[in-house]
């Protein structure tokens, strides 16, 4: 079954806290599960859209936001399992190459929400290699604090479509729940951009 997870040592809350510390006008989309709790733990924000279902959709939602808001930096923060369910979207996004979109995978190699079963990433599929093969112009594998700092800087700088595979520890942290009213979060997000609810 390939190699098992190794080199996954970063603290997920520290990573997300660092990435969003200087978020300015950054728009953030989260996949369902732990990554949305990480973003919520870093501070709720009108520029956040949290998914609670539609597993596999986070990257495509981020792509849609990025195409509609080309002057804003759009960051998708999701887990390896959530990304795996929408693997084809990496091909779709790589064809579009929105320069203001960054996809950040909180990769612990496990399905954290369902009992820490190993994911394909945990069994050895290298997500960064997949993004590279699809044609993402900038791909990073992040395994230490220096890498997190580099990634944080590149999220702000933007300039080209990027994919970051961030190797985090497999651990279940206390949940910090984002709002679950989808209509509220949707309209709040639009309002923060100066758009009417409808």
């Amino acid at each position: 079954m390939g190699r098992l997870v190794q080199g996954h040592n970063l603290d997920r809350r520290d990573v997300v806290g660092s990435l969003l510390e200087d978020r300015s006008n950054m728009l953030v989309v989260t996949g369902l599960g732990s990554s949305s709790y990480d973003v919520m733990a870093a501070g709720d924000h009108g520029n956040n859209f949290y998914l609670w279902a539609a597993m596999g959709s986070a990257a495509m939602v981020g792509c849609g936001v990025a195409e509609a808001q080309p002057d804003k930096s759009v960051v998708v923060i999701t887990g390896d399992g959530e990304m795996l369910m929408g693997f084809g979207s990496l091909a779709t996004i790589a064809l579009r190459k929105p320069p203001n979109l960054s996809i950040v995978i909180m990769n612990n190699g496990h399905y954290g929400e369902t009992g820490m079963q190993l994911s394909h990433a945990g069994f050895g599929i290298d997500l960064a290699d997949v993004a590279r093969a699809c044609g993402f112009p900038q791909v990073q594998t992040i395994q230490d604090q220096a890498g997190v700092k580099t990634l944080a800087d590149s999220l702000i700088a933007g300039g080209q479509l990027q994919f970051a595979d961030v190797r985090i520890k497999a651990e279940s942290l206390p949940r910090v729940l984002p709002p679950r009213d989808g209509v509220y979060v949707k309209n709040r997000f639009r309002q923060a951009l100066g758009l009417a609810p409808n």
């Binding site: 959709s57 986070a58 929408g86």
Partner: protein, 173 residues
């Protein structure tokens, strides 16, 4: 073999009139004209998908960012969308879909029939409103009306293009 395709030219102008800026699709023969017209239109971003549910996420994102869009697929793709339609349902994102039918009428390949026969019911089960066009003259008004209810009412709306429009497909000469 000649195939009547004039009806295909009804689709794109009607979609465009609803104010869309994005057209996401998984190709189908019946959508050939709309896809070509979208690619030839500088005001529209055409997005080819690997699977239909990608379009639901994409259009939700586009709406979050202030844009309208629509999604083209074949009836078989509706099955791929079922779980993802929760996104539309829970956040009441507008969703405008145009679906060409297989397994509907004069279908040579019976493997298309299970999903084709379940397409409209499956959409309704997930809260999508549906309208069906079997005559070319109905296509434009149904798409425009569905667009009104999608974008002005935050609803999920699908216009289904019946196989009688598409015609009998001759598989073996």
């Amino acid at each position: 073999m000649t195939m009547q395709t004039d009806w295909q030219n009804e689709v794109y102008p009607a979609l465009k009139s609803t104010g869309i800026k994005h057209l996401a699709y998984v190709p189908d023969a019946g959508h050939t004209a709309a896809i070509q017209q979208a690619h030839a239109d500088e005001d529209i971003q055409p997005i080819v998908l690997t699977t239909e549910e990608e379009g639901i996420g994409y259009l939700a994102g586009a709406w979050l960012g202030g844009n309208r869009g629509a999604l083209l697929m074949q009836s078989s793709g509706v099955g791929n969308c079922i779980n993802t339609l929760a996104l539309q349902s829970c956040a009441r994102f507008p969703l405008l879909m145009v679906i060409t039918m297989r397994g509907d009428w004069a279908e040579f390949n019976q493997w298309q029939n299970p999903m084709g026969q379940a397409t409209e019911d499956a959409l309704k089960l997930m809260g999508v409103m549906t309208w069906r066009a079997d005559r070319p003259e109905d296509i434009g008004k149904l798409i425009r009306g569905a667009g009104t209810m999608a974008f002005d009412g935050d609803c999920a709306c699908a216009v289904i293009l019946g196989q009688q429009l598409i015609g009998e497909k001759k598989w073996v000469d």
